[in-house]
């Protein structure tokens, strides 16, 4: 395994049982993640994008071990060793938690309203053994400066802050223990446009300064384009395409990626006329269609798509696609201005 890989996910599966009846018998499973493989390089941003129910949040929760995956490996390369997060017991996970932290979507519900900002940011420090209040205060002040929050706000409660400032508090808390990997699940989607840009820029700056690695989970392709080095597109529990950001946007190889790019509203009047509007709805992960899960909505689907599930393969170096017709299709991307 090359030294530059920080996280390597292999064939990750997370199936949630569906129970029915008096005896709560298992009658089926929601295949929220169904064979997901990717790796993240140290210092890069990998975006995991897709629509609701595609499994992007499930994957991120498996990595943080909020869920114990049904199958697969999550190899985390840290401090010169490799651990499989999927197989560790709760107790063994504890010392690793400081290396991976989370930034949540909703800055209104993810901060304890009864704690002041200083305590919120300092809590992970206290739990991890920084017991001296003066030392802790110094570190918290440093962190506040890092995320551009005035140190004078130390003793304020979260309700006094705007959404953007709360998200800064959340980021400062995530950075407290000097993590290597940050999993950010929709970090800007609850924010107003004028504040979104501030937080995205802050995340880029922090990455440059601290060498952070981000797994950036999002549904908004415009946001993703601004922050990520590589993008993985998920559909019904699987990654359908993974590539460098520029390549994926300019020349998508999977019809779902093409449709997703085309559906993204662009702030330029007169652009919508050539849009591809998909028919029908996202498949149900409890009952996915046979073959390629996207085939009922795909304009290029053939008989093979209805029968065989496409296996991800590399069509050009670093560009993975799970589509039978990736080599022949000429799909439309979006250029760069």
């Amino acid at each position: 395994m090359p030294d530059s890989i920080i996280l390597d996910v292999q064939d990750l599966k997370m199936h949630f049982p569906i129970r029915r009846g008096l005896l709560r018998r298992v009658v089926g499973a929601v295949r929220a993640a169904d064979g997901v493989s990717f790796s993240i390089r140290r210092g890069e941003t990998l975006a995991l994008v897709g629509e609701s129910g595609c499994g992007k949040t499930t994957v991120s929760r498996c990595i943080l071990r909020a869920y114990t995956p049904t199958a697969g490996a999550i190899n985390f390369h840290i401090g010169g060793r490799t651990v499989d997060l999927a197989k560790l017991e709760r107790g063994e996970l504890r010392p690793l938690r400081r290396h991976m932290q989370m930034v949540f979507q909703d800055p209104y519900s993810s901060l304890n309203p009864r704690m002041v900002v200083g305590e919120i940011i300092g809590e992970p420090l206290r739990i991890n053994g920084m017991t001296d209040p003066a030392e802790r205060r110094k570190r918290v002040t440093e962190l506040m400066e890092l995320v551009q929050l005035p140190a004078a706000y130390y003793n304020r409660f979260p309700h006094a802050f705007s959404g953007g400032q709360r998200q800064r508090i959340g980021i400062a808390r995530a950075l407290a223990l000097n993590p290597d990997l940050i999993v950010a699940d929709e970090p800007v989607s609850a924010l107003d446009v004028s504040v979104q840009a501030q937080i995205l820029n802050l995340m880029l700056d922090l990455q440059d300064r601290l060498g952070l690695t981000y797994l950036f989970v999002a549904h908004d392709l415009s946001v993703v384009k601004h922050v990520s080095d590589r993008v993985a597109v998920m559909y019904v529990g699987r990654i359908v395409e993974l590539a460098e950001t520029e390549a994926l946007f300019a020349r998508p190889r999977h019809p779902y990626t093409e449709a997703l790019l085309s559906a993204a509203p662009v702030p330029t009047p007169g652009m919508a006329s050539t849009r591809i509007v998909l028919e029908r709805e996202i498949a149900d992960p409890a009952n996915p269609p046979p073959g390629c899960a996207f085939h009922p909505r795909c304009r290029y689907a053939t008989e093979a798509c209805r029968v065989d599930t496409p296996v991800p393969r590399e069509v050009t170096p670093g560009h993975m696609v799970a589509c039978h017709h990736a080599d022949t299709l000429e799909l439309r991307g979006v250029g760069t201005e």
Binding site: Q165, D192, S194, Q198, N201, K225, H226, D229, P267, E337
Partner: protein, 331 residues
């Protein structure tokens, strides 16, 4: 010159809370035309939803429409009437019948205890003299019109059985039940996925073309505005800071807020890993509305000594207004 179907002047709605008065909508002028979409865009707390609710007179307490006019040309012809002067009974004849409403959250807006057919029929029968059978048939026809597959089966389903996209289609069917000429859509696609959003926007455009609907579209998304609207009003803290046609607005935004907002939007056309220009600070709480021009603390083009001292006047005709000292009105 085409007459607007709905023309709003000086609309002012305040919320009289225990802690003080919030000027949620503070003197808004708008014109809405048949067959055109007026987009009202702004960030949270700008008053875009309260504007829509004020037009329909469904402002929740402690909010109250303080002043203004909303002149509406009714279907039967005659001179335009001021909706704010109607009695509640008369207003009920307009609301739902001549002006339809589509909400953001389709799940919260339906009753969970009745089938969608029941709920559409109820809306139909409230305004039209139809028996139950005919209203039920009308419901199926409406579902078909908004692209709900197998409408005769779906009509007997409950809202929880439908996906978000289908629920929003049903909501649109309900808004159109009595052939209104104006539809107010408040963030109709915000809760939807992007591919579903594309479907719903397509549907709205299609219905507008076929029926000459006037649509008031409330959204926070400039992308949706660019795609859907003909005319646009940008709101900030209760004021329409700039109004104009979509073409003009995107080509040459005049208000510093519009300019900054347009620059700060992430787009799929951007170069990867580029930093966006930002707007400094954050939206003030409506209680702490800054003196003078409410945007001045964040404005990059502030005229010191003027913007923080007085409120900028409105310049330009309705539909091409701007509220900024850069465009005149300095004492």
């Amino acid at each position: 010159m085409v007459e607007p179907i709905l023309s709003v002047r000086g609309l002012t709605t305040h919320f009289f809370g225990v802690e003080g008065v919030t000027r949620a909508v503070d003197g808004v002028d708008l014109d809405v035309f048949e067959g055109r979409t007026l987009g009202i865009v702004g960030e949270s707390g700008c008053g875009k939803s309260v504007t829509a609710r004020s037009i329909l007179r469904i402002v929740d307490r402690p909010g109250r429409i303080v002043s203004g006019q909303t002149m509406f040309r009714r279907a039967e012809g005659g001179p335009a009437i001021d909706l704010l002067q109607l009695s509640e009974a008369e207003m009920r004849q307009v609301r739902g019948r001549e002006i339809g409403l589509v909400f953001q959250e389709p799940m919260a807006s339906f009753s969970q205890h009745y089938t969608i057919g029941n709920q559409i029929s109820e809306a139909v029968r409230l305004h039209m003299k139809l028996d139950k059978r005919a209203a039920h048939d009308r419901a199926i026809e409406l579902l078909d019109m908004v692209g709900v597959p197998q409408p005769s089966r779906r009509v007997d389903e409950y809202p929880f059985q439908l996906s978000g996209g289908l629920r929003q289609r049903v909501m649109i069917a309900m808004a159109l039940a009595c052939d209104p000429r104006v539809v107010i859509a408040d963030e109709p696609t915000t809760a939807l996925d992007v591919t579903t959003q594309a479907q719903i926007l397509d549907l709205l455009r299609d219905l507008q073309e076929k029926r000459g609907l006037a649509i008031i579209l409330i959204t926070h998304d400039m992308g949706v505005i660019a795609e859907m609207a003909h005319d646009v009003a940008v709101m900030y803290l209760g004021r329409a800071v700039e109004t104009g046609t979509v073409k003009d607005m995107f080509a040459a935004p005049r208000h510093p807020y519009t300019r900054a907002l347009l620059r700060s939007i992430p787009t799929v056309l951007a170069k990867p890993r580029t930093r966006l220009p930002t707007i400094a600070g954050s939206i003030p709480h409506p209680f702490d509305r800054p003196k003078g021009c409410p945007y001045h603390p964040r404005c990059a083009e502030i005229i010191t000594g003027t913007c923080e001292a007085q409120e900028p006047p409105v310049t330009g005709a309705v539909g091409a207004q701007v509220r900024c000292f850069l465009h005149g009105g300095r004492a």
